[in-house]
């Protein structure tokens, strides 16, 4: 193969090759090409984003710095620690939606249990195009079924998520999966470093096949005309095997049999072995002929790059191997010795006693190129126009929502997920925040955020909102946000404006996280979400985890009783008048809401979101108890505010509530909206609906994709 073709095949450019050559001190050997290709890909090396991601370095006392590990950790106290992360599987899901989404779930779960934490919840963030777009219905259906089939079978409940529909995603859908794991008592946190010389390198889990060879470098490329030709990269997931792997791995970790462990994700055995070696500053002897294979035609290169699913690499003391093997056998799984850890910092790769290469792992892991790509910070600002609609305009606008996918009922999606396996789920995806019961009887909150329609108009506001909105959703339920994960989905970073969107998003998310004292502890970057030169809007999805310690009942999103008083509270974050953003202010309001919630039991609460107050009230009326409005202020009922909170309280607490409001930050920005009433959805005397009909209309709104499944 001529040199230029080789560069193309291994997706390296001339300067990257020159750097590799300089580091190694000679031309690359055959087997080193795929190693550099994989480990220096954007996907594995974060070569474009790393300089920016440093902004996420903020940590507090709950969040020990374990950077470079598979996921981040939050210490909840009471001997409970949470491990969580979100990751993208956008490109594979666009190629084969079912397997792409399924293996996305499998991959993020492995990041969690590889640390010794039992996965207790899944969440997802999905962006689809218009349902009528080419292949879109199959993509939506396939992705949802993929998540459902994997998560349900592996026995981890999918408790929350967000789904967007927007033409900007017609050719680049986003499939981001988040997993949350729990460590209790003195259960050991497992890391990918810590092995000592003489330890064994052990391969566990499924056999290796040709699945996903070159997957990591593919994910770092834009889609073009030739994406059809990239078909053979599909990885097949097996949730049944993953379930066995979870149980077996947690047992060997908690019995203290392993020194270090890492899953084989992107770039498979290559990334796991080189990264583990580099992190421990040790070397490895790796016998590729000892890798269990499914297909006898596999070449050493394919074995190194295979992305076969449900596999892990671990290191153990030689004396512990028999116990590990016995334990894996009990679960019907194999454990094979591939080699051993050596003191000399070199990874030596053998194939039937032939030494294919020996190379310093740091050259591939630590010395990958870093790009400080040029960027231009976007300056576009959302201009909030104050609405003032009359009755007939409100009616027209409100009714137009039902037909728009953005307002569709999402229950046909989340009802395909097992939301209760594990018997921890208190609040499921019918609510804006999911809650799980912890062994300490405290409550763990999980929410995701990021509203792409805001990013279209204002990257700064969108980024703040991606953090603040889920944090506020938690606050109105009495939970305090503790930490965040992110999945930064962007277009082609080689373009200045896209890189500018990325830089601004990262900086603003980091700033918002710091203001809330909720560090960004893990995450993932997905660039090149671009087809035929057209990129997606900036979509940095956020996964938030919070804690609720109150002994009271968690407020529902829906009205549960008649005759409750419904109030709206305005948080002046972005004011219509000045269009300025005050993020310090937001923190104060968030604390005020938490304090209010401690004194007044909100019966129901919800953040005003898409469609403004009126649509939010309809969502709150989904259980059949609706509202009769008393306010005369109806002109802004469809305004999408930053931010407005709606709470329902018992009439007995109304006086106390008003007094508290008058004494605090909300003194000039609260309003009584109305009273809850069975089957009522009345705005004014002239503007009212039969709630039952509205609920049915909303319930069936996604029928064109999901059929009559309700």
């Amino acid at each position: 193969m001529i040199f230029s073709e080789k560069l193309k095949k291994y997706r390296m450019n001339q300067s990257e090759y020159d750097l590799a050559k300089k580091l190694v001190g000679r031309d690359l050997k055959e087997i080193e090409w795929p190693l550099f290709s994989a480990l220096w890909s954007e996907h594995c090396s974060y070569k474009t984003s790393k300089n920016h991601l440093r902004k996420f370095s903020y940590r507090n006392s709950r969040t020990p710095n374990i950077d470079g590990e598979n996921a981040g950790l939050v210490d909840l106290g009471n001997q409970e620690r949470i491990v969580f992360k979100m990751e993208s599987h956008n490109h594979p899901s666009f190629i084969e939606p079912f397997q792409g989404a399924a293996t996305g779930v499998g991959g993020i779960l492995r990041d969690i249990f590889t640390m010794g934490a039992r996965p207790i919840a899944l969440a997802n963030y999905l962006c689809f195009g218009e349902p009528g777009a080419d292949r879109m219905r199959d993509l939506i259906d396939g992705v949802v079924k993929g998540i459902s089939s994997y998560g349900n079978c592996v026995g981890v409940p999918t408790v929350t998520g967000q789904t967007e529909f927007h033409p900007e995603y017609n050719k680049n859908i986003l499939v981001n999966a988040m997993a949350v794991g729990l460590l209790t008592g003195d259960e050991k946190l497992a890391l990918s470093r810590g092995q000592t010389a003489g330890s064994l390198v052990v391969y566990v889990g499924a056999k290796t096949g040709k699945d996903g060879v070159h997957g990591a470098s593919m994910a770092s490329e834009s889609f073009g005309e030739d994406s059809e030709a990239k078909k053979p990269n599909v990885q097949i997931g097996d949730p049944f095997y993953e379930k066995l792997l979870i149980e077996a791995c947690l047992e060997v970790i908690h019995q203290d049999l392993v020194l270090a462990i890492q899953d084989m994700g992107a770039a498979g055995l290559t990334s796991s072995s080189f990264e583990m070696a580099s992190k421990s500053q040790m070397g490895l002897e790796l016998r590729l002929d000892q890798v269990p294979i499914r297909d006898s035609s596999l070449t050493p290169e394919e074995i190194l790059l295979s992305e076969s699913q449900e596999r892990m690499l671990l290191m153990c003391e030689p004396a512990k191997f028999d116990q590990i093997q016995k334990l894996f056998h009990r679960w019907g799984l194999e454990a094979s010795i591939l080699g051993k850890v050596i003191p000399e910092k070199l990874v030596k790769i053998y194939w039937h006693n032939e030494l294919l290469t020996e190379i310093d792992p740091d050259l591939l892991v630590e010395n990958a190129p870093r790009y400080d790509r040029a960027f231009e910070i976007p300056t576009r600002r959302l201009k909030i126009e104050k609405q003032n609609l009359n009755e007939s305009q409100i009616k027209e606008k409100f009714l137009s929502f039902f037909a728009q996918p953005r307002f569709w009922n999402r229950s046909p999606i989340y009802r395909q997920y097992d939301q209760r396996v594990g018997t921890r789920t208190m609040k499921d995806a019918t609510q804006s925040v999911a809650f799980l019961k912890l062994p300490s009887q405290r409550e763990l909150a999980i929410a995701v955020g990021c509203r792409p329609e805001i990013f279209k108009q204002d990257v700064l506001l969108g980024s703040y909102d991606a953090v603040f909105y889920p944090a506020l959703q938690m606050a109105i339920k009495g939970a305090k946000v503790l930490a965040l994960t992110d999945c930064l989905n962007f277009g082609n970073p080689e373009k200045k404006d896209i890189m500018g969107e990325f830089a601004l998003s990262v900086a603003s998310i980091a700033e918002a996280a710091k203001v809330l004292d909720a560090p960004v502890i893990s995450g993932n970057v997905s660039f090149y979400n671009e087809t035929d030169q057209k990129g997606i809007p900036p979509t940095p999805a956020i996964g938030a985890v919070g804690l609720r310690e109150a002994k009271t009942e968690i407020p529902s999103d829906q009205f549960q009783k008649e005759n409750l008083k419904v109030y709206s509270l305005q948080i002046p974050f972005v004011t219509v008048e000045s269009n300025s953003i005050n993020i310090e202010n937001l923190r104060k309001y968030l604390w005020q809401i938490l304090l209010l919630g401690e004194k007044i039991n909100f019966a129901s609460s919800k953040m005003v979101g898409k469609g403004g107050t009126l649509w939010t009230l309809l969502q709150m009326s989904q259980d059949g108890v609706g509202i009769t409005l008393q306010t005369q202020n109806i002109g802004q009922l469809c305004q999408e505010d930053f931010y407005r909170v709606i709470v329902a309280i018992s009439p007995e607490q109304e006086k106390q509530f008003q007094e508290l409001l008058k004494d605090g930050l909300f003194k000039n920005s609260f309003e009584l909206l109305g009273t809850t009433k069975n089957n009522s959805f009345q705005i004014t005397q002239n503007l009212k609906w039969n709630l039952q009909e509205l609920r049915m209309k909303h319930k069936t709104s996604a029928q064109e994709v999901f059929g009559e499944f309700l």
Binding site: N152, C153, G155, F240, D418, R420, V421, G422, T423, T425
Partner: protein, 215 residues
């Protein structure tokens, strides 16, 4: 003083409600013990054996088909021959049908999708297992299955109906189940199974406590 009821909980590879069921049994004050799928157990050991939900063997081939071939199920058959009790939940129901300890089969939901939901079931016929469950009462329980639609050929169905083997019926059929069947008995009324998950409705914060009556 009577001795505590001894409950065995079978774990197959891919069972994922095992821990949930085990904790539920303990919370209800009974003695729980694991049964590993590769192990035999004596027909004297347990008063009740529970087959929890999940995806035994990934639900491959047919739900429950591979688990029905296990050693633990061989022992379960002897346990049933001794007149001892068995409760199957969700995948456990599917396994019991595949093992021919219950009549009929469970096929893919009418929606062709996995369904997670709350249902009300009405008790048609009671028996010595789950004896706290009351006839004609309604219970609110969650379902989570893709293959939950009960099916039996007409003759078999008639036999099930005529011999009072229908245990539970859905108030509103979620999956196309024949005759709204959510749970059935064997002819001897020693083995019963249901698609809904009582263990997921056994504490106040779970959204319903109706499942408590099933132990």
């Amino acid at each position: 003083m009577s001795r505590k009821t001894q409950v065995g909980v079978i774990r197959f590879p891919g069972t994922n409600c095992d821990q949930d069921v085990f904790s539920w049994v303990q919370r209800e004050g009974l003695n729980a013990k694991w049964i590993w799928h590769r192990d035999s157990f004596s027909d004297q050991e347990f008063d009740l054996v529970i087959l929890p939900g999940g995806f035994s063997y990934g639900d491959y081939l047919r739900s429950g088909a591979l688990a029905a071939q296990s050693k633990a199920v061989e022992s379960l058959i002897s346990h049933v021959k001794k007149g001892r009790h068995v409760l199957g939940i969700c995948n456990g129901f599917q396994i019991l049908c595949e093992a021919k300890l219950l009549p009929g089969a469970l096929v893919t939901n009418q929606s062709l999708r996995f369904q997670d939901d709350w249902v009300d079931v009405r008790v048609e016929n009671t028996g010595p297992v789950c004896a706290k469950v009351e006839k004609s009462q309604k219970y609110k329980l969650p379902i989570a299955h893709k293959m939950g639609r009960f099916f039996a050929p007409a003759d078999d169905l008639k036999k099930i109906q005529d011999s009072d083997q229908v245990w539970l019926r859905y108030e509103k059929n979620p999956n196309g189940s024949l005759d709204n069947i959510a749970g059935i008995w064997n002819a001897e009324k020693t083995v019963c199974a249901l698609m809904p998950h009582p263990e997921r409705a056994s504490l106040e914060w779970m959204g319903s406590q109706d499942g408590k009556a099933f132990l």
